[in-house]
Symmetry: C2
Subunit: 381 residues, 2 copies
DNA sequence: CTTGCTGCGGTAAGCGCTTACCACGCCAAT
DNA sequence: ATTGGCGTGGTAAGCGCTTACCGCAGCAAG
């Protein structure tokens, strides 16, 4: 059987359609773009030719002409990949997490407006990250940047290529930023730990040292602790990196040197908390009995670990969708209505803080059940 | 403070650079594309102008000119989203799974070759999926299609726009396909259950009825069962949909009508197995004590559930990377070296099949530990 | 001194679209 | 019968690049 290389031939162009329909390329274009110009009879001829040839306009040509690519880009930092003992590649963090969920939110919102999502990742060393991001920028109408993918000093340069929205960063003169409300969320969490549980010693296990989110969360926690006259510790030995490995490493270190430990460890995010719980479990330390642990974000796995993680829920999906909407509003007319968008957060009490969480537990179960059922039905249809 | 709308002005074009450097646009282009033509002195002038203006060539214009966008697309089927009782949106399946891992593999491989990844998803009803995919196709140099995003009859039409590679489908005259080796993997799993564990009754909980993977896996299992004279059941009441919800639903149904159950349930994929175990646990049925359960794929969560899931490992990451490589080879010259690429699979024995798995467990732990450590160190650097 | 290379670099065509501009024919109004 | 308006659709310019083609020096060979 001769496998015809059916794809060496180029797809039809608008000229082919025009010829087939016996009209000019202008008319073809007008029909395709829903102008009211061409009359019905012409329109039909064009449409028929389009159908017969299977014509779809080329994106690049269209983009060049209308100065709109209908593509937005998102850049995130890839977590390191490791060769495991089995010889296969596994990644440090294996669940659908903060970044991934945000990206989904972006994608869904983009689809709604006829945009597609171009994804790019930079790795830890990110030596030529700058160049790669620049190139990517010129393939898009706008860019959404996750935390730590580009030195802030480069932002101005980037944003003169395309509009830029950052996630969990800070707004600048030229870029907008979308984030969760760290203040109210962390405030509620801190008061819960201090007043409801009566914990007298708290530690903050930080995210990246320069992360605005991490800094803001630490600040609020410190303030609440101070005003309640509760002991608060942090510092270099409590420096994590937003990854489970970072949390685990900090705990391993602390445990190894037999350091003093607080009654509750407030982590910069859920990932970190997961790492902490993992390490505590390995050392036979009971959570929350001996040490309470909390997270931030409410990523999906948080309610699947034991004990289930008490955390502050961010509307992760909406964070992404909002970022897209803001970016969209910047494309075309240059300025967004608002430069610093903050979405509400909410304390989610589960067991890792010491709550019995029976009610909560039942609720989660119910949700989970309903969810499975509903999804099952939908998928069957 | 007047926030200068620094981005209403268009980014510089090659003409701006040429003017600034006092040369023609041709020379600028030549310098940027590393031709040996322009002499050092000219080259320097150009480079300086480029740096001063912050010039980066426009992707669309470049694509139009060189007939290469350096973008590949991937389309996957989004799982349904459900309004939960809390009023927030959650998705049926919350972990980084088959599709996601493949996409990462694609993205990483693409980056290596200077390509970017355009992602698009279609939802369950996918009413205008066809049009959306077509449009997307013209924004890319090639397309990778996951299972069930497009009716096979439409494949020919699509592939006359751009080269197409399918995942876990079947190769056609015009498309290539990448998949795991179902035969050897399922064969090993079946023989393990039958000979090592001595189970006498097996059921196959299918994926989508028309999925080549699911069909192939079922076939091999049935053959092994037959040749060992072991009882094998499947059928409509064992029809899942590759989702956890599907597995759970099948079990709920079976349990509700008090149906007879086999000693071991072999699931079409890990997701399904997770759903099955969830439902069995809810009914207090011990896995693997009363019923053994196995999966397929070895997605990351498989080794984090209790009991840990015995499964057949597919090189998921490589599946994606391979798909990209094949697609890349089809871009430009029309035909891939091979149309049906199959990657090896491997039986992974954990506890859900009835193995004690202490050794395996220790190994997993070790890997996990090493992984965390290595990742932590890498991230710190 | 002419001829023929060779290295540089400018001119312009073209990639596949969209759309401003205009030509044309038709009909109502003068 | 001439004119002006309007609906229709063709012509061509332009989007921002790459590159084929060619002209022009400079220099070695005849």
């Amino acid at each position: 059987m001769p496998d015809l290389p059916a794809n060496i031939q180029q797809p039809p162009t608008i000229y082919d359609v025009a010829r087939a329909a016996g009209v000019s390329i202008a008319s073809v274009s007008r029909v395709l773009n829903g102008h009211r110009n061409p009359r019905q009879e012409t329109r039909d001829r064009v449409l028929q030719a389009v159908a017969e040839l299977g014509f779809v306009p080329d994106g690049a040509a269209r983009a060049l002409s209308v100065r709109l690519k209908e593509v937005v880009g998102v850049v995130f930092r890839r977590v390191p990949w490791v060769e495991s003992a089995e010889g296969t590649i596994t990644e440090e963090d294996e669940s659908l997490q903060f970044t991934d969920v945000i990206n989904r939110g972006i994608e869904v919102a983009a689809q709604l407006r006829g945009f597609n999502l171009l994804v790019g990742s930079v790795d830890v060393d990110g030596h030529d990250a700058h160049r790669r991001i620049m190139t990517m920028a010129r393939k898009c109408d706008g860019l959404i940047l996750h935390d730590r993918v580009l030195e802030p000093s480069r932002l101005a340069q980037l944003s003169q290529q395309v509009p830029v929205v950052t996630m969990a960063g800070v707004a600048t003169h030229v870029t907008a930023n979308v984030r969760g409300d760290n203040g109210s969320g962390m405030g509620a969490l801190a008061r819960h730990l201090i007043h409801d549980h009566g914990y007298l010693t708290l530690a903050y296990l930080a995210g990246h040292a320069d992360s605005p989110d991490s800094i803001a969360r630490r600040l609020v926690l410190a303030e609440e602790a101070a005003s309640a006259r509760v002991m608060f510790v942090d510092g270099p030995q409590w420096q994590g990196n937003y990854l489970a490995s970072g949390g685990a490493k900090v705990m391993r270190q602390l445990l190894a040197e037999n350091a003093w430990l607080p009654r509750a460890i407030v982590c910069a995010n859920d990932q970190t908390a997961l790492g902490v719980m993992y390490e505590l479990a390995r050392h036979g330390i009971d959570v929350p009995g001996e040490i309470a642990v909390t997270g931030f974000d409410d990523i999906p796995v948080s309610r699947h670990v034991r004990p289930r993680l008490t955390t502050v829920k961010q509307p992760i999906q909406e964070l992404g969708a909002t970022a897209f909407d803001v970016l969209r509003s910047m494309i075309g007319n240059g300025t967004p209505a608002e430069r610093d968008i903050v979405l509400p957060t909410k304390l989610i009490r589960r067991e890792s803080c010491g709550c019995q969480g029976q009610g909560q537990s039942a609720q989660d179960q119910a949700i989970h059940g309903k969810e499975l059922e509903a999804a099952g039905n939908a998928a069957d249809s």
